[in-house]
Symmetry: C2
Subunit: 145 residues, 2 copies
DNA sequence: CAAATAAAAGACTCTTTTATCTTAAATTAA
DNA sequence: TTAATTTAAGATAAAAGAGTCTTTTATTTG
């Protein structure tokens, strides 16, 4: 598993918001019901994205959350870092505690190359154009599209 | 996190065993104490590797677990599949349930390329030569080598 | 055979993640 | 200013992952 379930929810929400004009507030309740995600749980996750300046939020009538910048400028990397932290991008593949790579193991260098591809992908991929696909899947659960 | 903690333990154990002649039984107790892993927990994990024909085991005095084939022929891929399953190698990056990639999303193809590098790395990397590094780390916890 | 050894199996606990529920605070609109 | 709306915050619960403990089964040794 590359990302946590929380992170998945965060990414899906940003993809969902990318279908609206940037800066337009959308209630979290709408996102959660359209994507079949627990409302209160999603609230906490989106708070992380707000804290990371990826979303902005507004309370009260007419409020909600909105993209803080254009969707194309929000990368998977930004979202994963905000929710899961940098473990995926910098931590030890083998989860060996205490390895600071000052004395790299035999596999480290090649691993760094492979992971570099993942990092590059995440840094250069935004969630634009994902909304349709997601809503399709949300509407046809377990249909194996 | 690419792999689970259980998987990390399994990989470390195989690396540890690679320091012994192939087929030579080593008690799990020895592995667990040298690597600072809970004995009974490790037992369950190594059972998965035995079930996957990566290790062989023998009960009773003089028994233990042993590599079922030469260490160089055991890849990270084998170990991850045996303990964590194939999710990492085949599952959806975004953890979207029900996506069978018959109708791929805009990011799928590029993601497949990046993940292909990870898969290739795991399929071509064995744990030989890792034992020294691991014992060093186990002996100097949190020393950030 | 009896005793010692060591994996296998099962029950149980602790921690982290995921999910739910309740209350508070901020904002808008009438 | 009152009511409605909506995020923020906190408490609690369920599920999954990780770790511990006990009992059983298989094997070797004497
Ligand atoms: S050197 Fe090896 S053990 Fe250390 S962080 Fe890199 S992959 Fe992990
Ligand atoms: S097509 Fe997109 S949503 Fe489907 S499995 Fe691939 S990455 Fe996931």
């Amino acid at each position: 598993m590359f990302i946590s379930k929380s992170c998945s929810y965060g990414i899906r929400s940003v993809a969902y918001l990318s279908g609206y004009p940037q800066g337009r507030y959308v209630p979290i309740r709408d996102i959660s019901s359209d994507l079949n995600i627990s409302y209160h749980f999603l609230t906490k996750i989106l708070q992380m994205l707000t804290a990371a300046n990826i979303l902005i939020s507004s309370r009260g009538a007419g409020g909600g959350v909105a993209l803080a910048r254009e969707a194309a400028a929000i990368t998977l990397y930004d979202l994963i870092i905000a929710i899961d932290g940098d473990e995926l991008f910098t931590g030890c593949l083998l989860r060996l505690p205490g390895c600071g790579t000052k004395t790299p193991c035999p596999m480290h260098q090649e691993w760094d190359v492979a992971r570099g591809k993942v990092n590059h992908f995440c840094c250069h991929t935004s969630v634009t154009g994902l909304k349709q696909h997601m809503l399709l899947l949300a509407a046809n659960p377990a249909s194996d599209l």
